[in-house]
Point group: C3
Chain length 347, copies 3
């Protein structure tokens, strides 16, 4: 597919600076831009490439100011990052997501209810009482436990396993290797130090428009439900323990872990590898920095850092001094010495 | 199923305070308690809900002292947490765990030995020389390598992969996505910086009554065995490296990682995301706090915290001062200044 | 198989001290050495076992100096660790890796291209336009997306999932549960706080001689490719985000995570659970210590530690003082007190 700068500008409501007839056939990173490709510039770190790129067209923000002349055609848009995303969608030619129908061998209980235009990949297993809605895609090697329900248009990639009784909303994407509804980690110690399993009889509810990354695990509740509310996005290899609740439109990056019964608000951002201990409440719009270990409740809008975590600004001040401890310590030692010299054997 | 307070009290050896004829049909969290439900109170954090819950019955510890009157019927028991677990078992109605027989297509080597009342899910693969004992459940999409043995009553959930030669005990539960017996991470660097693989010819031995969470990985030993002793419980997404040994009845929470050849004692507790470097010995009853990085041996019964870890009490004292570093530093600076003023240019 | 000390010495170009006719039938750890077994000694921590082992033969480095007499036969070699690896390969009798041919049921698109002597396990799925080269082994329950190519002699263990368009080199080993090519974690927030998915249209390129551990995830690039260069070795449960590039012969231990667009050099070592934030450049031969959080570029050959990381030596000095903060603080308090006593109410 070839698109002209004019077509693209019309599509993105952008303004052209350069040759409106120039054509592109694919989207690429600005460092790798070459003839007939479209790039974008959003992160200032990459601005230097703009002046040397061989790309035909570059999308930039409307208010971007050129420092040097460029060889490419610019299209100015309200938000270069979002516009690039639209272009990527246009040029995405994989047909994987057009799959429909049932492949064999696959196993579908006659007591499961399967909607229209569903794709059921080979070696996929659907248990009794499961409900698979219209336009759902179940890739090969998926396991759907008994009584699981899956909303319209949801994509379940190869090798996802959903334990009995869980509920997945509409327009969700669940990546390969995700385990939804495995038992919560609950054991009662007896006097002799042996642990007895506490039955985990709840389930997992994932609301609409949620995306969950590869090999992430979401445990079922001991009782009632572990809940991920609509619009939240989870990265790879995350652990969500039993009875956790995650609000709407919250972002959680890879390797993060949330312990049992903790409630995370809406519009929060949890950076990579954050850890939240159990039974906490994290307010809306909180920002948890990379690797922070949260051991207390976090108020709405707060930004946290550190192990254990404190307010981010406070952590940064302490951390600067941690780095300077050798000098601080040297000053103290010197002071003690001089003081002793002047004052005698006082200390 | 409806149970009266009297039936429940008889079952749990408890004492009723309230209406012995009141009935419940399910178990639920105390925050969500409603008519015909049973709740329990063990964590004091949740006591406030006791006085407002709509639940019909609440289990409490025998010595619990009411601060206000309640609307529900109380049943006093020796251990509310354990009793709740018994109740959950009673109300667990999923029939998933009653599955028996072989589903098709599945692949079982004629040289494998399969016991009585075994469940073999569709798309499950059992290699030659494998031994699957009585009452074992292998859910769909399980892979059992050659020569693997699995003890009686063990449940292997969908998508568990067990490499050749590994041994799983009786009454174990292995959750979806677990990989048992993958190669240890062993490479010998040569002079030119290229790494040569060291063959990993050992296996993994998992003893009786062990539970392993979703997507956890247990590597095979380079030689001899990686061992998880009886009664230990592992959470999700844990990494157990080659030649590690874990004692009896030890608890390991999610995202923890144990490097090669480290030996962990019995009755230890490793909180979430703990890291243990290689070739260490951790004594019995040790407690490793959340995110602690253990780089030295730990003596029996010790409690450790920090990155790298030190004794927990010591870490807490240092950490309080870390938080106060800005003030401490200000005091020092002020002292230096005043000292200089009084003493002249000494420092 | 029985091998004499003479045969082994000839094979390893070693020198015998003891009985050249003594035989061994297997390889084992030195702590567990018994009659007819071969052990090795490389790590000085284990030297004590040399003097008490019941093993028949022990491999030691050529320049190793005995502190006491031994009962076993020694074979002195240039590198005991490497030689042990050779011996493990000799004694490895599992036939798993000799598998060939296609098992049924499996699903192979007629538009896929399959080489000679390929093993295709049952329940494995190969999509159209995939290229599987000679001698490749695909264990059961593997999913190969459309257009994926796999080089000669590569081993893909059970339950690996490779998304469309990815490319795996020759002589690679990919362990169970690995997900290659899942979507990068890219979302654009809109004004109302809702996240819109950015299409991930790139792929993953894994070069020759790479090994990837169990349940590790490698995300596809947003545009162009996520790349792991030849000879690099990745452990279990690692997260490699979109557009990351990893150089040649780099080692990454378990639970490490690398955020989007970061470039790691060649011959680097990343210890367990290291975290690298996005858009960084890590120079060749860098060493990232266990649990270090890298938030800035790292120069060639540097060794880093800490959260956030600094140069390892600097971290160690600061960390010693962190441990001593209680004493340092006590000294300061005492000094302040005495100063006040002597000088009056100055502070």
């Amino acid at each position: 597919m070839l698109l002209t700068a004019q077509t693209i500008a019309d599509c993105l409501n952008g303004d052209i600076e350069g040759d409106s007839g120039i054509v592109v056939s694919s989207v690429i990173n600005i460092e790798q831009g070459k003839k007939e490709t479209l790039c974008f510039l959003a992160n200032p770190k990459y601005e230097k490439y703009l002046y040397t790129t061989q790309a035909s067209i570059v999308l930039v923000d409307r208010d971007f100011v050129l420092k040097h002349p460029v060889n490419c055609t610019l299209i100015r848009v309200d938000n270069a990052y979002e516009s690039m995303s639209v272009m990527l969608g246009l040029f995405d030619t994989t047909d994987t997501l057009n799959r429909k129908g049932r492949e064999y061998p696959s196993r579908v209980s006659w007591r499961a209810k399967i909607g229209k235009k569903v794709y059921i990949g080979a070696f996929t297993y659907i248990s009794r009482k499961a409900i698979v809605s219209d336009n759902v895609k179940l890739f090969p090697n998926v396991y759907i436990g008994e009584g699981v329900s899956i909303g319209e248009n949801t994509i379940i990639y190869s090798d996802v396993k959903i334990y009995p009784g869980c509920s997945i909303g509409a327009n969700c994407i669940i990546h390969s290797g995700c385990i939804i509804g495995s038992d919560g980690f609950g054991f009662a110690p007896s006097a002799d130090g042996i642990y007895k399993k506490i039955p985990q009889t709840g389930n997992v509810i994932i609301e609409d428009n949620v995306e969950i990354g590869a090999n992430t695990t979401v445990d079922r509740a001991t009782m009632s439900s572990t809940i991920i509310c609509k619009g939240s996005k989870l990265d790879n290899l995350i652990q969500i323990a039993h009875n956790v609740e995650i609000g709407e439109n919250t972002i959680i990056a890879a390797h993060s872990g949330i312990a049992g019964s903790t409630k995370v608000g809406s519009h929060c951002v949890l950076a990579g590898r954050t850890g939240l201990t159990g039974h906490l409440t994290i307010g809306n719009n909180a920002i948890i920095g990379a690797e922070a270990l949260i051991t207390n409740n976090v108020k709405e809008g707060k930004s946290m850092l550190g192990i254990p975590a404190m307010e981010a600004g406070k952590f940064r001040r302490s951390n600067v001094l941690f780095r300077n401890l050798p000098e601080i310590s040297k000053n103290i030692t010197e002071l003690l010495k001089q003081y002793k010299n002047k004052m005698g054997e006082a200390i």
